[in-house]
Symmetry: C2
Subunit: 296 residues, 2 copies
């Protein structure tokens, strides 16, 4: 902490993810200057007003021109365009990284562009976030005690990888290296599938029209907590669904089988099997909680 | 507040629900004496030690013999047995009530028993709870600013209904009257379906065995919060699933249709439809939050 790791960082996309990364590095004095860029001018202006970034760039080219590190913190579907715009203006030997929730498509799109422009690309994904978005929701502690997965390939420069790793550690994260395909499969299970289910549940329940009143008015804390993630940014999740299709469809299929098994047990009123199904789930869920408590 | 509403209340089942009801009434001085009974002797002993109840009964008969109100706070599948045991020992004109999460089967089972024994039955369901269970998890504020649904029938005695309503109001709840069938349908949507989904999700993800490590170790706060309700008591949920089968199967079927629609949109990589699906859900979910904030 307190060691300046780089002179200038450009954050492309100053929302919850990019903005919180900037705030964490600034607080740790790990960077001299953070310059921000966002396609949403209002959000960029807000980021500057709130001190999330030191300076708003006048253009994406200006943002990255003399940056040592460029962090792409935009929705997965916008990574390719953003990368195309930045690589040709970055200085040779600078490091490009990203925060995308899907890694196979991003690596396939961005790595060749970076190589062609003599900049080093390191793919990453901080496992944290809230259901909120925008510069106004950024906070320096977002990455504290969270995991950040980096997915290096055979082409990844080791010095660049080490630098990005140090930045995430400085932001408070535990950094894990993982194979790109494995990342996308595991995230499909623990993050992308739950989001698809939460969105489907809210749409299903809110379309229940047997009674004139809005039945969601009766929902207590359980439903509210359970569906929190259905308030997440629809653009971000559209892009994740489009870019992690294969793994996500596999996981939805697996979930459907378990739900079908449960439905069958309800249909046949099989109390012993229902108890076993719920008990098994409770044991797994309680184990997560125990692990988390251990980590804290 | 501060008005003593009844002399003696018997709580049958001194867990989270029954114990919290006892604590709330004692704190408000709404009752002179609370006597508890539980089939789990250790839990009953704990309830007495913690002051959740004033006294542990030596038998279910002794608990209810001179009680003005008997509250059945046991899993739905144990209601019939508990009611059969209490009605023959209750004094004529006393009031019997319950906290079951399903109302059609409970009313069908308990109302005739109560009528035959000249006691008044009022069916109820407090819409609150946590994923914890047992006397040790009971707390007096559980029902603060929560809804409690009473489901009177044509046979319900108005004085008994008014008394039970006052007790729940004293415990901090907003009391709502609702048709029995409507209660079970709405709860299937906003509570029972989400629990079935959470249990299925945890079982589905924890059975993912493509990698040797436990992938749940990678799950962040989102998964933990989303699956909190999968830590709920398996016996309670077995009984709910068995006793609200028709409505629950209808809601699972409706959810499956929405998930299938989403799966189709992912398969065909239809970004516009995916965005619309997620956006619509976010709007509904955010509206719940706005309503809740308004209520608080």
């Amino acid at each position: 902490m307190g060691t300046c790791l780089v002179d200038k960082i450009a954050i492309i996309g100053v929302g919850l993810i990019g903005g919180s990364f900037a705030l964490a590095l600034k607080r740790a004095h790990a960077v001299q200057r953070v310059i921000g860029w966002d396609t949403d001018a209002d959000n960029l202006s807000l980021a500057t007003q709130l001190g999330v970034v030191d300076e708003a760039a006048l253009s994406i080219e200006q943002a990255v021109a003399d940056a040592d590190v460029v962090m792409l913190a935009v929705p997965v579907g916008s990574m390719l365009t953003a990368a195309q715009q930045v690589v040709k203006h970055m200085k040779p030997g600078a490091v490009l990284s990203d925060t995308g929730s899907v890694k196979q498509t991003v690596v396939a799109q961005v790595e060749p562009l970076a190589q062609a422009s003599s900049v080093y690309f390191v793919a990453g994904h901080p496992i944290s976030g809230t259901e909120r978005s925008g510069a106004g929701s950024a906070f320096a502690e977002l990455y504290h005690n969270k995991r950040c997965i980096l997915t290096p390939t055979v082409n990844t420069n080791i010095s660049a990888l080490t630098l990005i790793e140090k930045l995430w550690q400085t932001a408070g994260s535990e950094v894990v290296h993982m194979d790109v395909v494995k990342h996308d499969r595991i995230l499909a299970a623990i993050s992308h599938l739950p989001h698809m289910i939460a969105y489907s549940l809210v749409n299903s329940v809110s379309s229940y029209d047997r009674y004139p009143e809005n039945i969601l008015d009766y929902s207590a804390g359980g439903f509210r907590d359970f569906t929190r993630i259905a308030s997440s940014d629809p653009i971000m999740w559209r892009d994740i669904a489009l870019n992690n299709r294969e793994s996500l469809l596999e996981m939805i299929g697996q979930f459907e089988q378990f739900l079908a098994e449960l439905k069958q047990d309800i249909t046949s009123a099989d109390g012993a099997r229902l108890y076993e199904f719920f008990y098994r789930s409770k044991v797994s869920r309680d184990a997560i909680l125990a692990n988390v408590a251990k980590d804290d």
